[in-house]
Assembly symmetry: C2
Homo-oligomer: 206 residues x 2
């Protein structure tokens, strides 16, 4: 195999930037990459499948996983628990599969340094105005709640500097091509080259 | 502008790996990237245009450019002089254009550290056997000359470890897509983000 070392791609974005659709589409288009499935104590919504959208577990099971150090990141959001299993990611990487994980800025911070060769990607909307329009369109909340949420998002956006790549989701197809390019380019990085393959193909009689 | 910092992409390969065709095709497909034109004292071959394939100069002019430190790399090959103008590259980068330069392993070594944000790409043939077949097919030389040349190429191939990316040119379209992806991914690196653009679009009222 030319390159056998696989990567974890961590994708973060303020909500409304379109990261989930980007990641889903990427997995449809690229071979040997899989979306990491998070664990949650939240109840499934109509159409959500266990093991596909989330691994749905009860709080007791979740707390045991926390105690056993199974999560590389976890958080409580509006009373529900969400977490990412480090072992599941490492198993996929070992089996020769790249993993893509979409997680918020806080989750991404917890992951840093834990999985070698991780690549951090930040997805931005084209402007604050666009984010505001998208957010107002999908929230039934009061203007005050929207304003508070936008303030939080600004703090998230400031974190872009800590990522490796910044993709601006203005035109979806361009943003998707950029995300595909990041995955393809990372796969041909010199650190991913299998030196056994090089030896076998160029220096085998030595 | 979202990203205003441009890059120099330095592409090296043993001859027969197909780097020149890859670079030419890339420039046709990607906007805002230009192939750097080398200077040479060699006489133009039929079909070669001054300023397109090479800047053809006489030896006196070339030696003056060497004395004036205009070349970031230069070499004598079979009695002819070849060189790359650092100023021409820096001018293109300043004007908002990425530059691609194909240059051998020795030339690439001379460039290292001279232009900030340079990206080094190594193109490999799929195997030594393929390289040998391609080389024998296009050389009219004796078996001994071919053998010597292959030995030199092995030494060049060992240098792949000093590059940022390694592209294996087995199937041309796959190799081209990998090269395109490297250019696209490098353009969305966080180091290329224009922080003024971020401020203007997300924090302008602050």
């Amino acid at each position: 195999m030319r390159n056998k070392k696989k990567s974890l791609f961590v994708v973060s974005a303020p909500s409304g930037a379109g990261k989930t659709t980007l990641c889903r589409k990427l997995c449809e288009m690229v071979p040997d990459i899989r979306h990491s499935v998070s664990y949650t104590t939240r109840k499934p919504r109509p159409g959500e499948e266990d093991g596909v959208h989330y691994n749905f577990v009860d709080e007791k099971r979740f707390r045991t996983m926390v105690a056993d150090n199974e999560f590389i990141e976890w958080a409580e959001v509006y009373g529900n628990l969400y977490g990412t299993s480090g072992k599941a990611i490492e198993d996929m990487i070992k089996s020769g599969i790249d993993v893509i994980l979409d997680v918020d800025v806080q989750g991404s911070k917890q992951i840093r340094g834990k999985i070698p060769g991780s690549v951090f990607i930040f997805v931005l909307p084209p402007s604050m105005e666009v984010l505001q329009t998208r957010l107002t369109g999908r929230m039934s909340d009061s203007a005050e709640v929207v304003k508070k949420r936008l303030g939080e998002m600004k703090n998230e956006i400031r974190e872009y500097e800590n990522y490796d790549y910044v993709i601006i989701n203005d035109t979806f197809d361009i943003a998707l091509n950029e995300l595909l390019s990041v995955v393809t380019a990372e796969r041909v990085k010199v650190s991913k080259v299998d030196s056994d393959w090089i030896r076998e193909n160029f220096f085998k009689e030595e």
